[in-house]
């Protein structure tokens, strides 16, 4: 397959950035999207040019570091997948593909397709933890958790913090991310001790990072590689309101 690429190139945070055209030749339909970019990069290095910078690590949809807008969609076409899980068989020979970094004020572009996601880390540091003492922990079955509750907490915990929800949202809102983290702990007994302070601090940090507000477009749910439901946003709102009293 031959794929025509329009890739966002930006030298660093101060550079304005621009689209550059590349052609990826000898692309196999079995390749992942990142493997296709690897090939383009090998060619670029051979020509003495700087390869396209993008984040990646596990390449199996777990680490959450790869993420790019592909033809205007976070993580490209297909539902419930990260960019690394997108395969070239989703495209046709001769297709044109536009690749951009996540766009959000809270995610400054560092280089090409790499963005700075430390705003997410700061939200987590504000409250995305339990400070239960470690050490002599009770037996696993000493605290009983009904399966549907455990399942729902697990669905929320599946969030890999990739930022696709922010990139897909017209308001650059991080509500799906924050709601998944709050929800996961609000549902479980271990999360009860800091239940009120957690939601207040995480929301305050989210606002400070200049993420937008939620206006219920559900674009986040549609593009989330872990298919996290917007019902967690409803729980986040309930937790936040309850924490005021």
């Amino acid at each position: 397959m031959k794929i025509h690429l329009k890739v966002w190139r930006q030298k660093d945070q101060n550079d304005g950035g621009r689209f550059v055209d590349y052609t990826a030749s000898n692309v196999s339909p079995d390749m992942s999207f990142l493997e296709m970019l690897d090939i383009v990069n090998i060619d670029l290095v051979k020509k003495g040019e700087t390869p396209i910078a993008f984040d990646h690590d596990c390449r199996e949809g777990i680490c959450g570091s790869c993420g790019m807008m592909i033809n205007g969609r976070a993580h490209g076409p297909g539902r419930g997948i990260a960019t690394c899980q997108l395969h070239m068989r989703s495209f046709q020979d001769g297709d044109s593909v536009v690749i951009e970094p996540w766009r959000a004020a809270a995610f400054p572009v560092l280089k090409d397709l790499m963005i700075d996601r430390t705003s997410f880390d700061r939200i987590m540091q504000a409250g995305g933890y339990t400070s239960a003492k470690t050490g002599g922990i009770p037996d696993g079955n000493a605290i009983l958790i009904p399966k549907p509750v455990a399942d729902e907490a697990f669905d929320a915990a599946a969030c890999i913090g990739c930022g696709a929800c922010v990139a897909a949202c017209p308001n650059s809102s991080a509500m799906l991310f924050v709601s998944a983290k709050v929800s996961q702990l609000a549902l479980l007994p271990q999360g009860q001790a800091e239940r009120t302070t957690r939601v207040q601090r995480m929301i305050a940090q989210m606002d400070e990072e200049k993420f937008g507000a939620c206006s219920n477009t559900y674009a986040c749910e549609a593009e989330c590689p872990k298919q996290i439901s917007v019902t967690h946003i409803a729980r986040l709102n309930r937790e936040f309101i309850a924490a005021q009293f």
Partner: protein, 355 residues
């Protein structure tokens, strides 16, 4: 794919060599559920080193399936019949979805094609009983240390070791270290800091100055292929000898001919990768040397010369009943082997049998 799929999936190959029929068209009587046949009591649940070697053996002997012939089937048809599709989805949905994404095939209706691959190396950094390394104050937790996984790393043990070290050990030993030592503020003017900085800068400058012809990825693949071919699931003296001549050659060429574009004062993913690959080369060579040194088969380390008549690992406890650490002596210098004898007082090691 996760090994846990073997809890319910059945592994098989066609009985006939080079059978290219669609798996659906191969009747039960023409399928070889070889793990169930060879290990009637454990069946598909034999440990991963055994399952891996048997899969490799099937493919090496021409029974492999799929376009590459480097795969065996992992079939969920019986599990779906027995438990229902919903129950299989509940247990393995995320893994089966992942497979579908990668291959474009639906594992609920057609058997998965699997082949063993390295994703973990037994062993790690040496630590003491408190999980502190040879560098005072540097603790190594989880799978980065050598302590828990010897012959065979078992399923979910990344979690096991992370939790055990993180919950039960580090909270006591790290805080004990912090409480019983005095620490002065360290400045970046310290000699140690300067030395470390200079050595990193020298490596970076050296890499950037090479300006050769081949990319980091090309060296990564070339080196990895040698590791895969000769230092993988089954090793032998001949192959290891070959690896030990090829690997240093590739490493030497890397340091003369690698091409890294851009510069060292910006985000440079190629430069970062080059340093990782350089480390991989050092470690890879060490693994090959260690495999050559250990003339027995034991758990994940399988030397073809040392096997029982049934093709199982044959240990040599007289000579190799020890744990060992290789001491790093600097780049290009020969590592030194330190041994610690294993003394089994009550429970004596025996030959495993999964028959």
């Amino acid at each position: 794919m996760s090994e846990s799929l073997r809890n319910d999936g059945r592994v098989w190959v066609p009985k006939k060599k080079g059978d290219t029929r669609n798996p659906k068209d191969i009747p039960e009587s023409e399928r070889d559920y070889y793990l169930e046949r060879q290990y009637p009591s454990f069946g598909n649940l034999v440990p991963r080193d055994v399952a891996s070697r048997r899969a490799k053996e099937m493919c090496d002997n021409g029974f492999g399936v799929g376009a590459s012939k480097m795969a065996v089937y992992l079939d969920f048809a019986d599990a779906i019949k027995r438990l229902g599709k919903e129950a299989v989805f509940q247990k393995y949905g995320n893994l089966l979805d992942m497979y579908k994404q990668i291959t474009g095939e639906d594992p609920y209706t057609t058997p998965m094609r699997i082949y063993p691959a390295v994703h973990y190396t037994m062993g790690g950094l040496w630590v003491d009983y408190n999980l502190m390394s040879t560098i005072p104050g540097m603790f190594v937790l989880g799978e980065a240390n050598f302590s828990d996984h010897g012959a065979n790393r078992l399923g979910a043990s990344a979690l096991m070791q992370g939790l055990a070290d993180g919950y039960f050990i580090a909270p006591y030993t790290v805080s004990d270290y912090l409480a019983s030592n005095k620490f002065n503020a360290v400045s970046t003017d310290a000699k140690e800091f300067k030395d470390a900085e200079n050595s990193v800068t020298a490596t970076i400058n050296k890499l950037m100055g090479i300006d050769g012809k081949k990319t980091v990825d090309e060296y990564h693949r070339e080196f990895g292929k040698v590791m895969w071919d000769y230092v993988g699931m089954a090793r032998n003296k001949e192959g290891l000898k070959k690896a030990l001549t090829l690997l240093p050659k590739i490493r030497a060429e890397f340091w003369k001919n690698v091409k890294i574009t851009g510069n060292a004062h910006e985000i440079n993913m190629e430069l970062e990768k080059a340093q990782r690959v350089a480390d991989f080369m050092e470690l890879g060579e060490l693994i090959a040397m260690d495999a050559m040194n250990r003339e027995e088969s034991c758990g994940g380390h399988f030397r073809e010369e040392f096997q029982t008549e049934e093709g199982e690992a044959k240990r040599n406890d007289k000579k190799f009943s020890y744990v060992a650490a290789w001491e790093y002596k600097g780049p290009g210098k020969k590592q030194v082997l330190h041994k610690e004898d294993l003394d089994f007082e009550y429970v004596k090691p025996t030959q495993r049998s999964y028959k």
